[in-house]
Assembly symmetry: D2
Homo-oligomer: 344 residues x 4
């Protein structure tokens, strides 16, 4: 059986990936690693794993050695060297961090403050949004797994941009995310009494997902797209909902939009277009790999409003990584990912 | 001592107003009414009032007869007749519903499905946003207390519109509200297991605060303003945060904007402009009559983003109504409203 | 393939059971029914099912006719007649309501206000707590699926009672449940603004799970056991945590207790005894079929405190029902139930 | 005007006290201090204070010098020396920490791991539960402000213990608290994604409020009282609800209990006994200085269950401290504390 490994298994993304992979029928876990918890059982750190796994956190090198598919779940800047080792050992590497998401090194330097350390690898890496790049993913051995906010926004805009139906300037992406997106690290703004019963935006004009969004939307549109992206923190654990405002080049109606989206996504197993009149909501996709999209017009019918919602930890991270792995390994794209959102 | 009365005291807005008025040092409660709970003690219905008041719900006519200031907290369509009676009895009437908010009867008909029943009263009524209309409010005896979403949006945009600094078309108001805004009536979308741990917009393109926002922004700008308004429901009790996107006519910078807003609101006791670099958050105004506004630019510096946040039940309803009463009665505008938000 | 059906599929328990059964590898859904939503697609009522199933709500008779295993998820008093029909048609019936949980008809009459309508069926029914009754369940065709609170309490006390180690009088069960336990029906106490940010007990001295708890604990102890049971409502969706206080007949220590429990549950796949020094928490079992138990002494070491926690909708309802079905059908007890709690 | 000062103003208890004192009509703030934030404006740290106060954090000595009443809101072990200085300067000192709560130095050493550093001061200090010690508080200059859990439990049991109506052994106090009780310090168990949607006990058998509860209940009963105390953490910000189980010496009924409690607390402005049949709930006292108590029997009528609920930050800390100050200064006990809980 194919062996998968996780480097950085004790962060939220790593732990979520482990949870999903343990239920994947065609994969076994070869090894996991954690710098902070090396030598410790994962089920002591996350007690939901009690009796489900006895895996012990090993070193990165153990993971690379023992596994066929290496998932990296690390802060940005740490994955390039590991990916190099993995690729040099002929392993598949799926990076869940930001290191390979941008192709433009200048933009990377601008937003992340460092150069590419393994520039040649960036030519090999494929942006792992299966609804966009499935054919390329099939052939790839290095995947840049998309960011959570970008996934919700790119899926929400792809049919319009592919068909040149909207103005490319001034798209507004007002996104709201649950707190797991901020990770396991302690901070005052995610201290329970500070985050409970409140709501606020953060990093306005400065969130590092901005260049990823603009670069990928431009790739999709085959022309320069600019957005205003405003992330907000919701007092819930999981889920991203993006409210996207864009201006149609010509008058549109909902029936047209609905057909466009439905046709576009008809063979994409994880994207659902809601019926006209319904509104996407986090609760219907939370804890699943699904993306729900609903389509709306403002009251003057001169602006399109797209609601796109995903689970930030699954379709926005660990689930999408498994979807990429499935495609590379020739499995059914939905293998191990067919679980249904608990609506309550 | 001046006697205040509440018609509709057992809805959330009415009960919140009662809570605030009981602590107002210059007012006593003359009577309260409720159709559903007539004859019952309010402290049996809301047990937070135990030992704080023994008031019994009486009839509307009792309230009008016994009180000098009549607050109406009723579903739309029910206040006009009551306001007529109150005004005919030379009482002050502050309507917390929607009946007098729009001056354009055609718009009212379009969004509310009915005509004005007391059209002549609409000439007397004053839109009770003290930061805009304080002088008119002083002379008024009939106040249309603003809606909660419109309050947050109008306060957020007033300095820019008064100074003709932004494009009047295509302003986007992405607003998020706590669930008390939906009132005490039971509904599936506010059933705890359905609303907890989720987030979604509602009434896209169809929320009845839309014409109020457009009419008042146009009044402020003295020109036709159009907006796209999208309300969302937050899984918290209180607070509205509006993220407002607008396009400056000429390039602006944050220092300029900050000075503009600070000067504009310098004598307005309830509006605070946050220092540059800080972001408004519901937790700092929740359970107070304050509005916090923070100013931002997107990453290309070509769009202004305004964050404006209030407590929907206080500055967005009961507190603003008291502020209006204070102005009419010649009290200090802040009387009974100086309480500070509990930040946690 | 075996066909399962759900009568009452649109309540929370029914919908949760459907969600779990759709992922069960050895079962297909034959039919579902709902009186309120007959003729409607379940994915219109619960949008988490979009693209996951097109099942339409049929009639009860359709379910009985088309399926081999009939699950009833109905308010008490409605299952007896249906169970009769199912058993008479040689089907397996698993009742998730209260109708068959009590064997003492007098107690049933006292707490539920009605007689048994099919008294002879009560001789056939087996109380479906697999950790207690697995052998009987194997032979059964009619299962009384336990209540959620009783499951948490019975699993928490079984090793002590089976071994006659504690006083049988005065056991205190202080239980706390998420709001899904109250079902989909609207009520003021589960209206979001009323339930959020609060906490309170309910039905003190009068909750209908009390006689079930006492009857089953007495069965386990083979002697009369009495309890004080106090349920509380937590402002969360899922999970029950019971804090159980009991008095040891002789002095005990934690090592002894831990070994007792670990041995007792060693072949029970869903019950985990936490290491000494750790404390059971809802987050580690939520959305799984697991029960976590931790063992403690008070500061004088003269009282045992047991923390027992389950997901009220899964091990406390739908998951346990599937566990019972698996046992009856000769499947592995864990089939379709091996999913891991998402700890965040 | 009397000047009050807060030592430790930037912790949650200190900041809450400041919020309440700023609205106290007979007090002005002389100075506040914070070791961590010395020299900084409090409204930069807690933005709810924007435009409400410009106070700057000074040193402890500044506070003692400038103020008549010194409140200490510090981790245990730090207040004794400060209290000494304050008392030596003839100031009133109200310690909100644990340093003076226990009179038994051996118990203090056992639970807190240190000796009294100013043993003679302990003879002067008065336990500041006004419903028990009002006459002593009037004469005191050093107050040990009670713990939050102990306040809820002592108020709940006082009428029964004063009248020798219950067994003194084996009282069970199952208490649940909001997260503000854990303070502003970051910890994994109060990281939002870890604490949200869960519930668990903590420190079973080892919480430091245990000896305070036992010592004070014994003082009230004038005999040795033992309890089992189990604290739990609720996923809400504020509020403690204690479910207290005790055994009556002779049979009692609810009418008798209700009269006993109502009479006992009739001149105590902050304690309300709910009518028979109603149940105390955090929402009705949250953000107020009130304590709500409801009285119940179990289904066999052989055990008394008392529900006692307070806001942990107000009646359990800052509000009670002000109540003590009011009594010492000869103000009305309710001065500055009459605000009403917002029920939603």
């Amino acid at each position: 059986m194919i062996k998968a490994g996780i480097i950085g298994a004790t962060g939220y993304v790593g732990a979520e990936l482990l949870r999903l992979l343990l239920n994947h029928p065609l994969i076994e876990i070869g090894a996991i690693s954690s710098v902070s918890f090396e030598g410790q059982e994962i089920n002591k750190i996350y007690k939901n794993f009690l009796s489900k796994t006895d895996l012990i956190c090993e070193t990165m090198d153990d993971v690379i050695k023992k596994c066929d598919v290496i998932f990296t779940a690390l802060p940005h800047g740490l994955s390039e060297g590991i990916a190099k080792k993995a690729i040099d050992s002929n392993k598949i590497c799926i990076d869940m961090g930001a290191d390979f998401r941008l192709t433009d090194e200048e933009e990377y330097k601008l937003w992340y403050g460092k150069d590419f350390s393994e520039p040649e690898l960036h030519n090999q890496s494929v942006y792992g949004l299966p609804e966009l790049n499935k054919e390329k993913i099939k052939e790839a051995s290095l995947i840049a797994n998309p960011g959570c906010y970008p996934t919700s926004i790119e899926l929400g805009l792809m049919p319009l941009l592919k068909n040149s139906l909207i103005e490319l300037k001034g798209i507004i992406c007002d996104s709201k995310s649950g707190t797991t997106g901020a990770g396991r690290g302690l901070a005052l703004n995610t201290h329970f009494p500070e985050e409970n019963e409140t709501f606020a935006p953060y990093n306005i004009g400065g969130h590092r997902h901005t260049p990823e969004i603009e670069e990928m939307l431009s790739t999709i549109a085959q022309d320069k797209v600019t957005v205003t992206f405003t992330p907000h923190l919701l007092p819930i654990n999981r889920g991203i909902l993006s409210t996207i405002y864009c201006n149609p080049k010509e008058e549109v109606n909902l029936e047209f939009l609905h057909k466009l989206y439905t046709d576009f996504y008809k063979n994409k197993p994880f994207v659902e277009i809601l019926p006209i009149g319904e509104t996407a909501s986090i609760k219907n996709i939370r804890l699943s790999n699904n993306c729900h999209i609903s389509l709306h017009l403002n009251h003057r019918k001169d602006q399109i409003i797209i609601i796109s919602t995903i689970d930030n930890m699954i379709k926005g991270a660990a689930g999408q990584a498994i979807q990429n792995m499935n495609i590379i390994l020739g499995f059914d794209e939905t293998e191990g990912l067919n679980f249904i959102a608990p609506a309550f």
